[in-house]
Symmetry: C2
Subunit: 343 residues, 2 copies
DNA sequence: CTGAAAGCGCTAACAC
DNA sequence: GTGTTAGCGCTTTCAG
């Protein structure tokens, strides 16, 4: 009488309730859920009907306690830069949630402190709240990697271990150089010969990597890059100024930029001077952000395959959490070019 | 000998380890963590030192099992519309993570199915994986609200119960009408008298709400709205077409739009015709998305106070989960206007 | 293939 | 104030 199907029970049903209804032991119900193969077919059906009837789902806390696993993946959200390269972050989180969901994992978000790159990780780890982490902010080295490895915390990094070639942790990254090389080639094929670069300051590994692709493409065609490159802050204003200077001094017919933000700055300069993007001067950005898609006349941009990144990360995570753990080599994915009016 | 401080233990320390080191019972350690007032000062210090020394954090699963609470808040991510009104979502999630973190909660992300508005909720609820939900997708009524309430699942909605004035669940929303009224007044104060509206199709409550603010502002100044409004799909293309038609037929000197997307369409039309946004025709969007900030000459836009929304939601959540539960009235917050070059 | 017993780490209730 | 007992709901032995 205590559990009337269709009515909302005060307490969710437990294994014992299902066992009683199905006329088997609790253990058998557990097996029906976790190792159905062990049951005889008719018993299995009877148990499954009881589960269905009661709307039973195993209590997460109890299961976690027993199995020492939470099926949760921790992901740190950095204090929101209002408009920066993290435009891609949103898309990545979406993909990660969907992919990890299919693998039986949920994503646990926690806040970072901005100053301390380790904040938040420690507590979740010690309280065994998550099974693993996905570490995304590896742009300036990654102290997290060393720290997490030291505590034997499973994690997969989105981003190469730039500062440590010996690092053995699993990672997935996008080949930025291949992306900018793709962009530069696209322009070369259109007949451009003076292609300028606007990137980030030299202390950014990602920035230098992206720059290398542009440089490689030009050199492969026997073209010089000298005087055609500029390194600035990642703001529209900087992109605008840098492109103005380059136009005056080096007369490029096209720009490849390390980000859509910088590319927007170039578009502003072109508009200032009555030049038409795509017609008079070509521009290519990086990240395929929303702005690239809506600005006139459409900004050609390098697009990171974030769905694939998420999928590979979840894959690596599953290996890491398997018994015994499987840890594969780092994975480098190739971006694509979203071609629009600006090129 | 089993736990050497400074070294990484194979197993995290437990209550028992701390109790042994401090020379007290397990219960006393538990009290030291949860009810420090109950301990004598010197005992408390001794226990805290032991906790510190071992790097102890209470095991989440065990605590959850015992207290029947997970300190997790479920948030559903809808399948990523590549570019839509969910531009604001990212900002909201950030705020929610930070605010709820301060209140001792973490955010659990799960994937929605796109077709079934209830997908994902059920399992998390039955397995008691989360303490409560934050429901965001209330744009077309909210079947979740009725469903969740029926199962006595605690939740707070971001969005009014448009379709059910009798609804008693806690909610927080932004007063869209106040936002568009602010926008229209801003234009009226600049001397505009023919202000057009481009909004969504009539079946959108949010859209009709935003439209009402524009209409109210015009009528308050004794101006007619007839022929000045258009209702279309939320795409750039639609905004472009609608504005072209309105310019031809109604000769407005300014536009207020239900979204930045539509406003971008207007900017395209102006560019097509050689009209300068802000100089010849004013344009105001809604959501203060990234594009509003980077497009030339800057798009004036209604900005939702998402930080405040998150804060109020967490506040409501804390009330809901208190013993006994406190449930307050719905909360309506007022947006602000981010003024840029387009107006 | 099924059942009985034990225990994961913690906290609520009660004794001392 | 502190210690003892019990049990949250589940899964992992190990018998039958």
């Amino acid at each position: 009488m205590s559990r009337i199907p269709g009515r909302v029970p005060t307490q969710p049903p437990t294994l014992a309730d299902v066992a009683e209804l199905a006329g088997v032991s609790r253990q058998t119900v557990s097996n029906a859920v976790n190792n159905p193969d062990l049951l005889r077919a008719d018993t299995l059906v009877r148990v499954q009907e009881a589960i269905e009837q009661l709307g039973y789902s195993p209590n997460r806390a109890a299961r976690n306690l027993r199995t020492r696993a939470s099926h949760l993946i921790g992901l740190r959200m950095n204090p929101g830069q209002e408009f920066t390269a993290n435009a891609a972050m949103d898309r990545f989180v979406h993909s990660l949630v969907e992919t990890s969901g299919e693998a039986g994992y949920h994503v646990l978000l926690f806040a970072g402190s901005g100053t301390d790159p380790l904040a938040g990780y420690d507590d979740l780890l010690r309280s065994t709240a998550v099974d693993a982490f996905v570490v995304t902010d590896t742009y300036l080295g990654n102290p997290q990697a060393a720290w997490l490895r030291e505590r034997r915390a499973p994690f997969v990094a989105f981003g190469r271990p730039w500062d440590d070639a010996e690092a053995t942790h699993p990672w997935v990254d996008v080949d930025g150089a291949a992306g900018t090389e793709l962009a530069a080639r696209h322009l070369l094929d259109k007949g451009h010969e003076r292609i300028a670069w606007i990137g980030w300051r030299k202390d950014s590994w990602i920035g230098e990597d992206r720059r290398a692709g542009w440089s490689r493409a030009l050199k492969a065609r026997g073209l010089s890059t000298s005087g055609l490159a500029s390194r600035v802050e990642d703001t529209i204003h900087s992109g605008r100024e840098a492109s103005a200077v380059l136009l005056d001094e080096a007369h490029p017919s096209a720009f490849v930029c390390a980000s859509d933000t910088l590319a927007m700055g170039v578009l502003h300069t072109l508009a200032d001077r009555g030049l038409r993007a795509g017609q008079d001067v070509a521009v290519i950005g990086f990240d395929d952000s929303q702005v690239a898609q809506v600005v006139r006349p459409g900004l050609t941009s390098v697009r990171q395959p974030l769905e694939d990144v998420a999928s590979q990360i979840v894959n690596a995570l599953e290996g890491l959490l398997a018994h015994p753990p499987r840890v594969g080599p780092g994975i480098l994915l190739t971006p694509t070019l979203a071609v629009r009016g600006s090129s």
